[in-house]
Every structure is written in structure tokens, then in C-alpha cells.
Amino acid sequence: MKKFNCEQLLSKLDELVDGTLDDTEATAARSHLESCPSCRSEFESTQELLTATRSLPRSIEPEHELWSGIAENIKRQRVVRGGFNRPGTIGSRNLWMAAAAAALLVVSVTIAYMAGLEQGRPRIAQSPQPHPSYMQAAYGDLATELETARDQLRASLDQRQDDLSPETWSVVMDNLVVIDDAIERIEIALVDNPNDGRLNRQLTVAYRRQIDLLQRATRLPAEV
């Protein structure tokens, strides 16, 4: 029978409380809880937290009257109704191809990232980079600027969500997540190796690819 130690139990605590562990792991976890007061206490306090959370009201009435501001805004805009087309009627195939092209572009980031790490490890360990603190600062500033640009584009894309079909939106979001994941991995690696030029370059490449995808996505014509 599979057995858990405290570290393994705590790493699975949330899934255990949420009931999303598979049967084998759930049995091992419960077995550990029976014999470990410390982990049992953690488990019970998490359960209590969730019980309290579920009892919170999901609806909260605002203290101030908000409708007048909304009504005023609506009247000012006087949005012209009509002229909206249903999905699939305007160049849907072309949009799919654009989205798929963007997807291919994005996936290459992960591949480049992985390849970069694999190729880079031995050299990173054996040869120090020249002027590491200068490089780190330069890349750090660039990454911050790119992150800001990325966030602004993402905000613009959010404004267009209802213009795009759910399928196109899904493709774009899935691929943003792929790059986000790569960025997160690189940032974690940079915590231990902040002066690693290869990692810093990979970070800026990942941001640039994400910006490229976002620019393409924000330029897509409306589908709905």
C-alpha cells in the first residue's frame, strides 16, 4: 500500500480537502492523517477554513446607489444597436488560421526555452558570464518594460473578448498560458541564478513572443 510522509501529505493537502485526489493517494493520505496529529491539525484547519468560506454570502449589496451613474453613462453613449454578426459568418476560417499560426509561434517559445536550458546548463556551471550584475540589471529593466507592455496589450485584448469567437479566444488564451508557464519557470530558475545571461535572454524572448501574440490577437477582425 502506498504511504505518505508529512511532506508528501502537505503537498497534497489542498487536493485532499477538495476531494480531487485519486483513490490510491486519498487512502494513503487518510492513513497518514490517522497517525500524525500535526498533519491532522493542518487538514482540519483547512476544512474549517473552507466551511467558513462557503458560508460567506456571495451577494453583497453596495452601500451607495450605483444605478444613476450607470444610467447616465448609458444615455451618454446611446449605443447603436444592430449590425452584429453571429459567429462563423465573417472570415471564420481565416481567423482560425491566424490563431493557429499564432499558436505555432507561441509553442516555439517553450521549445526554445527547453532547448536553451538543456544546452546552457554545462556552460553556465563552468564559465562565469562577463559583467553579470550589469547584464542582470539591463535584462531586468528590459523584462520589466516588456512586462508592462504585455500587461497593457493584455488589457486591450480583454476589451475585445466579446468580439472574438469563443474558439479563437480559447486558442489565444491557451497559448498565453503556455508562455506564462515558461516565463514562470524561467523566473524561478533566475531566483537561483539571477546573473545567468542565457536565462535572462530567454525571459525577454518569452515576453516578446507573448507581446507578438497579443498584438496579432488584438488586430484580429471582429468575429461576432
Binding site: 493537502l13 489542498d14 493542518e42 484547519s45 483547512t46 477554513l49 473552507l50 467558513a52 468560506t53 462557503r54 458560508s55 460567506l56 454570502p57 456571495r58 451577494s59 453583497i60 449589496e61 453596495p62 452601500e63 451607495h64 450605483l66 444605478w67 451613474g69 450607470i70 444610467a71 453613462n73 448609458i74 444615455k75 453613449q77 449605443v79 444597436r81 444592430g82 452584429f84 453571429r86 512586462e147 508592462t148 500587461d151 497593457q152 493584455r154 488589457a155 480583454d158 476589451q159 473578448q161 466579446d162 468580439d163 480559447s170 488564451m173 491557451d174 498565453l176 498560458v177 506564462d180 508557464d181 514562470e184 461576432v224
Partner: protein, 179 residues
């Protein structure tokens, strides 16, 4: 996070799409509590939550023609609200504009319409003080019932990141409530 549209809502939505502001006001009255509650918990700031609530309804009015009726209006509105709040958080970026600003914590003003007692008040306070990403994931997962895959989609973060942020949020909340 789905739901079939109620017949009454369908009629109201149809009227609102055709430009009937009174019908839209009825939709607002039906759903403002859920929308405001979501904004408030996601941003932890009363006046910002009011602004975002207004923005969400104005956006909803603009986007109503794209509402296809394959889910309940409340579900559609809920998703739209999340996008508005997350969009604000992204555009605010690292500036952390007004979020959790001193003196604007919503649970502390003793408002009569939303009095809290004991652990509920402590919990609301602790949620509002969570780091932004941890708070977002906690509110969506544990309060609103979204799955990690759904959070990944709407918040643009990896599923693993969503799980890690939830774990972090729960840990911080347990710690806060125990102290």
C-alpha cells in the same frame, strides 16, 4: 459555472438589447449584489469595487447584443465582471493603484447592510489582505466555485500556478485566522 437562462431574464435581456433601459435596470437590480460582491472580494476595496461594478454594467450594456442566451444572464454577467476586474488589475500592473489603500477596507466601516460577525468578519478581512494573485484565485475557486482549469482560462495563468496560489492563499488565511 453555467446555468440556463430564466424565462424572465430572457424577456428582460431581449428588451434591453432593443434599447429598453428600464429592462436593463431590472437586470441590474437582480444581479448587482452578486456583481458587487465579486468585485469587492476580488479587489478588497469598497470605492474601487463600486467603480468596477459600474464599469461592468456599462460594459454589459455595450456587449448585450453578443449575449447568445446559451447560459444564464447572471453567468454571462459574472464572467464579464471577472474580465473587468482582471483587466483593471492588469492595467494597474505593479502600481497597485488604490487596492487595499489604508482606510478603504470595506469590512471595517460597520455598514448596516453587510454586518459581519466573528469568524466571517475575520475571514473577510484576511481575504482582503491576501496578495493580489492569491486573492484572485482564492475568491474564484473557494468562494465562487471555479475549477483550476477555468481560472487558468479567465485569468491567463497556468493550472499549476492557480493551484500554487490557492495553496498559498489557504496557508496565509489559516495563519491569519489562527493569530
Amino acid at each position: 459555472m453555467t446555468g440556463r437562462p430564466a424565462p424572465d431574464s430572457i424577456g428582460l435581456v431581449d428588451r434591453a438589447i432593443s434599447g429598453d433601459v428600464e429592462a436593463f435596470e431590472e437586470l441590474y437590480r437582480e444581479s448587482v449584489g452578486r456583481v458587487y460582491g465579486l468585485c469587492l472580494r476580488m479587489c478588497g476595496n469598497q470605492s474601487l469595487a463600486e467603480e468596477l461594478t459600474q464599469e461592468a454594467f456599462v460594459r454589459a450594456w455595450q456587449k448585450l447584443p453578443s449575449f447568445r442566451g446559451d447560459s444564464a444572464f447572471s453567468t454571462w454577467m459574472h464572467r464579464l465582471t471577472i474580465n473587468v476586474v482582471l483587466g483593471h488589475q492588469r492595467s494597474a500592473g505593479r502600481r497597485q493603484v488604490r487596492e487595499n489603500a489604508a482606510g478603504e477596507e470595506w469590512y471595517s466601516d460597520g455598514g448596516t447592510t453587510r454586518e459581519r460577525h466573528g469568524i466571517a468578519l475575520d475571514l473577510e478581512r484576511a481575504i482582503a489582505r491576501l496578495p493580489k494573485r492569491a486573492r484572485t484565485v482564492f475568491v474564484l475557486h473557494d468562494v465562487e466555485g471555479y475549477k483550476h482549469s477555468e481560472i487558468s482560462r479567465v485569468a491567463g495563468m497556468a493550472v499549476g500556478t492557480s493551484k500554487a496560489q490557492l495553496s498559498r492563499a489557504r496557508h496565509l488565511l489559516r495563519k491569519a485566522l489562527a493569530s
